[in-house]
């Protein structure tokens, strides 16, 4: 299994509070991604990174920011959580050679009350 961990694995927070989710990899892969999974929507890309300090928006980036100061860590921040951000968040990595395969973390279940 690819070495990807996410923390926390579960979080309950209140509307309006800031939340940061962490993704850590030990594979030295170039690309890192944050997705959210919601019923009926599949996996939707929030933000991705193609190198240290190099990030870009995905299709559902509003309300989220990211940072990547080291190859192994990719942080997702909800500046002011809303109930619509209640979801399961997955981190993924890719970029080994010419492979398009992504390797996913175990997920973080976030509930905003």
């Amino acid at each position: 299994d690819a070495g990807i961990t996410q923390s926390p694995r579960h979080k309950v927070t209140e509307t309006g509070t800031p939340v940061t989710l962490r993704c850590h990899q030990t594979e030295n892969h170039r690309y890192m991604y944050w997705y959210r999974q919601d019923p009926g929507h599949g996996l939707r890309l929030i933000h991705y990174s193609y190198g240290v300090k190099d990030t870009d928006k995905g299709e559902v980036s509003d309300g989220y920011s990211v940072s990547r100061s080291k190859t192994e860590d990719f942080l997702l921040t909800l500046e002011s959580a809303t109930s619509s951000q209640t979801s399961v968040y997955f981190c993924a990595i890719s970029g080994a050679g010419s492979s398009y395969e992504q390797y996913f973390g175990p997920g973080t279940r976030l509930t905003v009350t």
Partner: protein, 113 residues
């Protein structure tokens, strides 16, 4: 506008029979396709892929077929087993060698013993 579509949200199959999961795409520039499998409370895992230079790729019980003229691919599982019960996602990296994939919304497969 979905570029990768999985029009069947769910599929129910008897153990030992064939499961066929379908995926359609709209962008003729897509040149590589992947299937991922996801169990509840886990991250998706890579299952099988196919390049557009092929029309079939096989890995054990799993075979993916690609029909470029119809912009359609399908995943065949033969024989189906109860452990195959999961959500299956079709994905295509953006054209031109991009590592930023687009996912379908997934098909939930249930294999009955």
């Amino acid at each position: 506008d979905q570029q990768v579509k999985q029009n069947s949200p769910s599929l129910s199959v008897q153990e030992g029979r064939i499961s066929i999961l379908n995926c359609d795409y709209t962008n003729s520039m897509f040149d590589y396709f992947l299937w991922y499998k996801k169990y509840p409370a886990e991250g998706p895992t890579f299952l099988i892929s196919i390049s557009s230079i092929k029309d079939k790729n096989e890995d054990g019980r799993f075979t993916v077929f690609l029909n470029k003229s119809a912009k359609h691919l399908s995943l065949h599982i033969v024989p189906s087993q109860p452990g195959d019960s999961a959500v299956y996602f079709c994905a295509a990296p953006a054209a031109g060698g991009s590592y930023i994939p687009t996912f379908g919304r997934g098909t939930s497969l249930i294999v009955h013993p």
